[in-house]
Symmetry: D2
Subunit: 434 residues, 4 copies
């Protein structure tokens, strides 16, 4: 198991603890860098129940190390404030009573400064612990660290999603940052298809291999995947606009029943963050309100919209087994958080190559989020990490423009409810082989 | 394709139309027999949005024949009342505007007598059409009849579910019928397990075979099923009571997150229709309020409760592919509507035999209801039959004590949202092979 | 106290009990006459929580006599079914637990026939009791009968309001009766004003006088009424249409804040039951859908709409003290239920005369429904009759086209929440004297 | 008209503008002093839709001067940011579109620093305008200033109410201030009664007199007040605890119907902010969580609770005319914001004297908030100040511990919905004279 880059070869035993400490410091610093452009007022907003105030995120990821590493294994650890355990627990119901999620925006104290003090307190204790870990527990500490670091990376992506949603409520459309990397202007080519033959595929993370994976990826197993074709890139804003202009949001024909109910109840007429100004479609980005790039992958659409588009286009979404089969061949590179666009961008076309499998947009699959054969929850509170959400959600694959590059894998299973739109979520088409 | 018994060998071409007519008459009469014990007042109640008033059911199943067979193919057909098309359409949004579902209990006219006149009007026209069908359309008529008859059978089961829910609202606990078949009193044996090896399985209905199947069963395809074990009978009321007494409804430990939210929001403490009287668990049945038979399969539990029980018991629910693999070996016999219990009953044990795969209770599987590879919706309004519900629902298998025996198949896919409890729904355990 | 005609002079002591019995029989028969045109299906519908199914009304008014007269005072009375006490109690929380109001439409048993058997059972017992009353209780029996009879008359009006609302849900717009009295076609004259000088007025029912009155009218007291003017007739449909055409429902300017919120939330664009057909305003009446008579008083408007119209017209609604001051001079005659129009009609103009003070439409006043000085609730359950509703409601005066003529008085205080529209409610303007 | 102290004798014409400017500066500074103890994070919270974030309050009161004085009358005024007009309008629908109230907590930009810059910008412009007012408009400017200053004082009280509600959401129970004035410990005497004879009273503000009053107090008119008695002090915490211990919250007997529904829906068991700790009742105050002083007036009760207590005690609430009749004799002194308790306190008893008519707690009356005879709204947006809220609310009188002393009058009409509890609201009993 590696310090969350997923690339080092050493085993936990052999790995010098210093490397883990550096990974810890690197990932903790990345969280703070994401928050650097925020005002204290921004830290307080909970723009919908699914969103958490940034202040809560930065405290909660610290709490994770306190609750699962420092309290059990640091012999001299003193909490900064005993009340924080209640305030910054998220959903670990077997670990005390979590503070109600929709009330997170109500808590002005501890202040932002207090919360950074809490982070510093945790960091000092973690650094002390990792400098001289108790030998009896070192393996368990590293095992938990190997979960706590991707946990913090997940919250980095959530922070960017939530900050975008928070600032988008503001009629002033303030930019999160003015210095994002400039977006390329590639013209995408006509959609191409790649065909895959029928056969048994190995799906899920191989536990015998190096590298971290979540419990929900475990249980490598066989699935028979019938022959299929998959698109060589995600659907673009321009293509999605064709669907809109064909009355896609106005007629129930291509929608799932729940999807159509949602369209009417929410008044959806375009992807989230789109707004028409003087006849031109703009969308809110972390750099402010800009015209929509028709060559970039469509983003901030729900599963319902992805599915309706696919139906309209005479295609369907790939299953997660199909997607993973394809992804095994693809290099893990693309438009990640390190590219500093913080939005999906158009890709330079390369005929015959499967593009943008990783990065840019999380791709909705047609698969409901359910456990793999032999899935077993981790014991205790850590067991709540993934398993209990395996109901009412759909799987997304491939990471996005807000994902750290070393956080994603071909076997990585992300999930959201089918109506969710505030993630950087797009989609790619699939269809049967003739 | 056969007249909805699913057993005849003749092809639509060779089958004498008279046989189809007899099937039509038999199934239509069965609907009316189910309603015979009702008062006119009972016909009017919509006890929750998911429930339809019995009056609506008996009109709607007639409307199906009018809209999809008589109007397109009966050259001289005259509707009894043009307004009925709007009132009794269910969810076919591409066929006019359906009357809002939650308002079905608001419509006192047409009266029950009017609706029976409508049924008789349709029956006369259908009998005339089938006695002398237009040769150019006979195949399409039979194809639609082959859908309309199971559609009516589905509504027979819905009628029984809905009548039970309607009468259960009444503090007087009135019995639907006093003359149901007496329930047997078998003592069930300890749960046994049947093991199945890993391998590729053919799943779904084989289109080249005889016999009707719904569009959602079509697209026979291969799935790799890893080795598993399955219980030799459903979980009983007695076993479920153990879960309750172990605090099953009081602790979040074994519940899916959505499930636990539902438990708290709805105040669930037992299966639907259970009530404690003088320290003894009773439940409302179509024969009135009776003590719970601890040897009968537990019924009226949601997917959430089934899943929580399985987690608690160290097992899981079978996938639908596992269930279908097992069901291929089982005879389609059991406690169906013809047994006239109208509730699940205890089964005589036979060591080593898989029991109660069909009948008694619909069995929740661990599979979300999604399309098979190559699924294609029927064209036009008929295409709304199944496909648009493939979101947010779980698959159930095997039929129940309210299902007509000739309506069920090993490949039959029923589906309900994970919180639904008013169907005759129970479950069977599965687990990995060691 | 008189047998609910309010006109007899005899005291309870001297009045021959036979007269009370005849009043009982007359009023009970009137209830059944109102229900005669209903189908059993109509009896079952609860079209909104405020509406009760007609079956419930006819049972509940019987229950009132059972609970408050027969059980306490009839020595040999045997209830027909002990469960009815729970089912048909309305809101007397100190008398057992009332069955939840919004669930009244869920109860199909007892059937309509059962409920009529219950009425007959009560009637036989009441007739027996009144034929030979226990001397020790005769005064209390008559006192309660003098409340029970107007209670039943109130429910007669509620029945007509509720039946109208129930049938109006039906897209077929069925008529309740085809044989209503034909509506006159008077052209109304321009609105005139009557001026009243300032002075102390006696308001409320004089307890020392003959004739029944509710507890909420009791406590005759003095109010100082400043000089004012009042319109000589209610606002008509034609005048209200002017308001609509001037954009009355489209701009917040003249609305109370709560009223404007309601307009937007409910999408109000016209009075309840109004619908435009081919450019002509129609409204649903108990005789079916007919064109709106522009000379008839506007009806089925909320307090919010009445107040907004008055603001727009540069006037206001009268206070209830102003209304009562004016009404003391007016004869109690008008378009009541006995005229058998069951809707407000145009009145023949008589210059200089205050018209339509009684009958046609209940007139919204500008007064909130609060107790008079010295108001005391009746003891026990009967005390719940009026007092506990003295919050959140506005007073209406004068009776309507569905009110029995002998039920109304100048001091009569009716009340509804400001958003209610399903009563026969209209309004009359007032303004300051210059 | 005076610079909001209500005491100066000079007319607007004669008054030196400098005095108005000093009043402006004094009241503006008081607002900022109230906010001084807040962190930026506290400024952001909207703990329920009725509460506004402090940041919004301090911007909105500035916007009032900008919208109604600077833009119309300051010839060279330049807005700091044109978007603020939309963001900080409250409910003046005739003045553009107000930003939706429940979304006020979503807007992190402008920041708190920005908003203080906005205040300073307004102050500079107001000071410039008042130093050299355009002669043609000076009277109208002063008229509007005479409304804008009490408007800001009202928001000072709202700020304290809202800050209390905001901090009370926090499980840490943080104190707003640690340096509040110490509370006295008087033992209150047994409740005494003062009797008033029947007679015509003049109610409302006399327009011919000096001193500011709101439009809703205008229209001095006569009311006949029947003889009554009034309690010589408000009901105390100790007396209210008697009601609680007598099962006041557990039985419907004494409650208005809407009140009892609210008790059950909200689970009320005590006044807002009360919590039992180790068997002792505490309540949250702006100084933190402290034991309840049984001699202080009960506070943070709704009209429903006040009315239920009064019913239980065999009394009633006074009407607003009764209250005003009594208040004409009382000196305007008491526990106001200047006393710096920020909570009601026990009063030193003085036998035979009516105590605590002003200050401590707003006293619920039994009167619905409706216009006085001849009430006329101000023209334009200013006309929205009071009139449109005259529906669904009850009148409170006398000011409270968060009210500036120079803001209150005997004729002052405050109002809240009957369920509201977050104001400093208590009550005093009345009853009929025998
Ligand atoms: Fe987390
Ligand atoms: Fe159907
Ligand atoms: Fe009643
Ligand atoms: Fe304001």
């Amino acid at each position: 198991m590696s310090p969350a880059q997923g690339s080092t070869i050493e085993t936990p035993d052999s790995l010098h603890i210093k490397e883990w400490l550096r990974a810890y410091q690197r990932i903790r610093a990345a969280t703070e860098a994401i928050c650097a452009p925020l005002h204290k007022e921004d830290y307080m907003v909970q723009s919908m129940p699914d969103v958490s105030p940034p202040k809560w995120h930065i405290a909660h990821v610290s709490w994770f190390f306190e609750a699962f590493i420092l309290k059990p294994f640091h012999p001299a650890y003193q909490p900064l404030d005993p009340a924080y355990d209640h305030l910054f627990n998220s959903y670990y119901v077997t670990h005390g009573t979590p503070f109600p999620r929709p009330g997170r925006g109500m808590i002005s104290r501890p202040t932002v400064d207090d919360v950074y003090r809490y982070r510093a307190h945790i960091d000092r204790a973690m650094e002390a612990l990792l400098s001289d870990p108790p030998q009896a527990h070192v393996q368990e500490i590293l095992r938990r660290l190997a979960l706590g670091l991707p946990h913090e990376q997940q919250h980095q992506e959530l922070l960017l999603m939530d900050i975008k949603h928070i600032l988008a409520q503001n009629p002033l459309c303030p930019a999160y940052r003015d210095d994002l990397a400039p977006t390329p202007a590639h013209a995408v080519e006509t959609l191409g298809w790649h065909a895959y033959p029928a056969g048994v595929q190995y799906i899920g993370h191989d536990d015998t291999e190096e590298g971290f994976a979540y419990d929900n990826e475990m249980g490598r197993h066989r699935q028979f995947v019938e022959a299929f074709q998959i698109a060589d890139r995600p659907v673009t804003n321009g293509e999605f606009l064709d669907f809109m202009q064909a009355g896609g949001y106005d007629k129930p024909d291509h929608w799932l029943s729940d999807g159509w109910d949602t369209v009417k109840a929410e008044g959806w007429q375009a992807p989230l963050y789109w707004v028409e100004r003087d006849g031109i479609w703009h969308h809110y980005t972390l750099g402010g309100l800009v015209p929509v790039d028709m060559n970039a992958p469509v983003c901030h659409v729900s599963f319902y919209e992805a599915d309706a588009y696919a139906q309209w286009a005479g295609a369907r979404l790939p299953t997660e087994a199909e997607w993973e089969t394809v992804a095994h061949d693809a290099a893990i590179q693309g438009n990640f958080v390190e590219q500093d666009h913080l939005q999906p961008v158009s890709a330079a076309g390369s005929t015959g190559v499967l593009g943008q499998m990783f990065g840019d947009v999380w791709e909705w699959t047609g698969s409901a989020y359910r456990p793999y054969p032999g899935f077993r929850k981790l014991p205790g509170s850590l067991g709540e990490y993934n398993g209990k959400f395996m109901s009412g959600q759909m799987v997304l694959r491939g990471g996005c423009c807000a994902t750290p590059a070393d956080h994603i894998r071909a076997t990585y299973r992300n999930f959201f409810p089918p109506h969710a739109r505030w993630a950087f979520s797009g989609f790619r088409l699939a269809k049967e082989s003739l």
